[in-house]
Structure formats: C-alpha cells, structure tokens
C-alpha cells in the first residue's frame, strides 16, 4: 500500500490533481456553511418571533433537507439559469441544505436564552439590534455550534457527489479512479475527505470554545 502511495504521489501531475481537488473541496464546503449560517440567523430570528412563520419555515426546511443532493445539484440550474456544470450550483445547493439544517437550532438556541438575561440587557440600555448580536447570539452559540458541526461534516461528504456533474473537489479522485480501475486515488480521496471533515469539526469546536469563555469558567462544559 505504501508503495502504491509513493508511486502515485511520485507523479507531479497526480500531486497537482490532489492538491487542486483538495483546495476546491475546502472552498465548496466552507462557503455554503458561512452563507447558510448567514441566512439561517435572520430567518430563525424572524421565525422565533412570529409563530406562523415558524411552522412554515420548519416545514419547508424539512422538505428541502429531504431532497437528495444529486437531484438538487441538477434542479438548481434549471431554476436560476446557471450553467449545468457551474460550481455555483453545488454552492447554492449546499447553502440551501445548511440554511435548512441551521434554521431550527437558531430558533432553539435563541429560545434557550433566558428571558431575564434579555430583560437585563434591555435594562442596561442595549437596543434590540445590539442586544441581539452582543447578548442573544453568543448565548445561543452552544446550541448552534452542535448543528454547525453536523452541517460542516455533511458538506464535506456531499461535495464529492458534485463530481457526477463535473464539479466536486476530491470527488474527482473517485470518478478518475473508478474509470481507470485504480484503487489508490479513491482511497486517497476517502482518507482526505475524512481528515477534512475532522479538521472542520475540530475547528468549529475550537472557535466555539474561544467565543464562549463563560462556559469554561462556570461549568467546564465541552
């Protein structure tokens, strides 16, 4: 196996393909996560305040999350008129998944902020916008970060499906390997995907610890 690996990596073009795919994979997984979170926070906040919207948002999020990725990758260009093999399709599809996945935890996270803390912040003179970003969002982070981890891990694994429509980061190694009946690139792709998922997960945990210092001070929570 080691021999196979050294042989594979001895070719400069192989090294280039792997690095390029890895870079593209990171980009395709990360951008939707950020965009999805940016969409889910205002949507979740709005829905948290308006009960009618809440049901509609949760219902549609559930349905969107049900649609298989390969189907969504193909339906999106039809809806918005992008080219069938543009990488923006993958970005939009994963953004939809992430927003759908994060909408509920944003609501639940904001719900979990104790009412007396919000009242105290108001009494201290916080206007609603500043209170939201400085008090409510940070306190919702523990609930939110759990779902962010799920979203990031599933993004990393879903991006490779894009290879079937000609985009897809490390997924390219799978289709290449399959067409050439060559195991090594497939194994490299699987291992790199797993490592990438793990790295993203650890990064979110670290960021969360950094952003919620009070949790360590009071309970030593994870």
């Amino acid at each position: 196996m080691i021999d196979e690996l050294t042989h594979y990596f001895s070719s400069p073009s192989n090294r280039e393909v792997v690095l390029e795919s890895l870079g593209q994979h990171i980009y395709l997984a990360l951008v939707p996560l950020v965009l999805g979170a940016l969409l889910a926070v205002p949507a979740g906040r709005f829905a948290q305040r308006v009960p009618k919207v809440r049901g509609v948002l949760l219902g549609s999020a559930n349905i969107l999350y049900t649609i298989p990725s390969l189907a969504l990758f193909v339906i999106i260009p039809a809806l918005i008129g992008t080219g069938a093999t543009a990488s923006i399709n993958v970005v939009i599809a994963l953004t939809i998944y992430n927003a759908a996945l994060l909408a509920r935890p944003v609501m639940e996270g904001l719900d979990s902020v104790p009412e007396h803390i919000v009242t105290a912040a108001t009494a201290l003179g916080y206007r609603s916008r500043r209170r939201f970003f400085a008090v409510e969002v940070p306190l919702a982070l523990p609930v939110l970060s759990t779902s962010l981890r799920v979203a990031s891990v599933s993004n990393v694994s879903l991006v490779s499906v894009g290879a079937l429509i000609g985009i897809g980061g490390l997924g390219r190694l799978f289709t290449d390997g399959f067409q050439r009946d060559y195991l090594t690139p497939i194994l490299i792709g699987v291992v790199l995907t797993l490592l990438l998922a793990m790295a993203g997960d650890l990064l979110i945990v670290a960021l969360r610890r950094l952003c919620t210092p009070w949790q360590r001070a009071t309970s030593g929570g994870r």
Binding site: N62, I63, Y65, T66, I67, P68, S69, L70, A71, L72, F73, V74, I75, P77, A78, G81, A84, Y97, L101, V150, V153, S154, V156, S157, L158, S160, V161, A163, L164, I165, G166, G168, L170, G171, L173, F174, T175, G177, F178, D181, L183, I186, L187, G189, V190, T193, L194, A197, M198
Partner: protein, 229 residues
C-alpha cells in the same frame, strides 16, 4: 427554455413506459431502497434495542453513526465496486451498510430515551428483561426508532441515485445518462422524480410511524434530524 426541454422529454411516452423509462426505473429505485432499509433494519434493530437495553456499547454506536456522516458516499460506492466487483449485489450490500448506523442509533437512542422510572416500574412488576424490552421499551422507543429508519431511507434514496454511476439501475441511471448525452430535459426529469420519491417516502414513513406509535406516547415528539446525502 429549460422547461421546454423538460416538457419535450416528458412528452415522449417512450421515456415513461419503456423498460428503462421513468416508471420502471422509479419502481427499481423504490425496490432497491426498501430492500436495503429492510435488510439494514433486520440486522441493526435488534442490536440497537439490545444495546439500548443493556446500556453497553452505547458510546460505540454514537461514534459510529457520527463518523458515518463524514464518509463520502461516492467514494465508498466506487471503492466497494472496485473491491467486490460490478453488479447489483455488491452495490446493494453497500447501501445496506450505509443504512445500518442510522437504524442502529435510532433504536439505541429510542430505548435510551425511555424514562428511568418507567423501566424501573416494568422491572418492579416482575417482567423479564425480554418482556421489559418488548412490552415497555420498544413501544416507548417507537418515535426515535422510526426517526432512525427515516434517516436511513433518505440516505439510501440519495445514495442509490449516486450508485447509478457504478451501474445500479434506478432513477440515477436516467439522470446520469442525461448528463452524458447533454440531454438536460432528461436529467432534470430524473432529478425531479428522485426529489419527489424522497419527499413522498419520508412523508409515508412519518405517517407509518405515527400509526404504529402507541397512542399513549403520541405527543408531537420531533423526529430525529434527517440526513440528506
């Protein structure tokens, strides 16, 4: 323009009714998915229930089902076929393996969610461990148990579409053929059918889970998070 391509493709009855048409491939897709989830349930449910009952090995189940999320299905499917050979059986075996963790963790989480005083009461009434599991823990576990099955089903519907790349039939094969021949109407039609199948199957299972859940514990408990793949 895309819509006209779609309608154009759909207006040809051959694309619906031939042996590789939408209807037959939908049935194949359904067959692969139901079969895989059924086999996975037969394997994983007893194990999950037992692990939940005894509490031993629970951590392993959680780690297993969490790390499954990170696995790239396309990579697994291609790897599996290169190792085990092209054909329906190895690919279906791959689908079963993919479905197992979701069912397993649903069953485990279901039994774990049964309140401790309920279990104690069952034990106090002199039930044997098997009676406790069958008569008390299983009915109480039903909502989460079905949540696991729904997650598994969504995962399998999605993965079966991807597995068309390595030769499994079903709607994915129509979709991929459309990509290969630059027939966007065909690709889109297959994609819409896959999406529809996933949504309908999920709704059906949700309905089924409500029917099979004993009335006493049927209080709008949220289903376990679904997992599109």
């Amino acid at each position: 323009m895309i819509i006209t391509e779609l309608l154009g493709w759909l207006s040809d009855p051959d694309n619906w009714f031939s042996s590789t048409g939408l209807l037959v491939q939908t049935l194949w897709h359904l067959y692969y998915c139901v079969l895989s989830v059924l086999v996975a349930s037969i394997i994983a449910m007893p194990i999950g229930l037992w692990i939940g009952h005894t509490g031993r090995g629970g951590a392993t189940v959680v780690v297993l089902s969490n790390s499954m999320r990170a696995l790239p299905t396309l990579g697994l499917v291609t790897l599996f076929v290169l190792l085990a050979g092209i054909g329906e059986a190895p690919t279906l075996a791959g689908l079963v393996i993919l479905a197992i963790p979701a069912v397993l963790s649903g069953a485990y989480a279901g039994v774990q969610s049964v309140p401790k005083d309920v279990r104690d009461a069952a034990k106090g009434m002199g039930m044997t461990p098997l009676q406790q599991l069958w008569q008390v823990e299983l009915p109480n576990a039903a909502p989460l148990l079905f949540g696991g099955v729904r997650t598994a089903m969504l995962q399998v519907v999605a993965t079966a579409s991807v597995a068309a790349y390595v030769g499994l039939g079903g709607l994915g094969s129509i979709l991929l053929e459309g990509i290969k021949t630059y027939s966007y109407g065909q690709t889109l039609a297959a994609a819409l059918f896959i999406a529809l199948l996933a949504v309908l199957l999920d709704a059906l299972l949700s309905r089924l889970s409500r029917i099979l859940t004993p009335r006493g514990i049927r209080v709008g408990r949220p289903a376990a998070a679904a997992g599109g793949a």
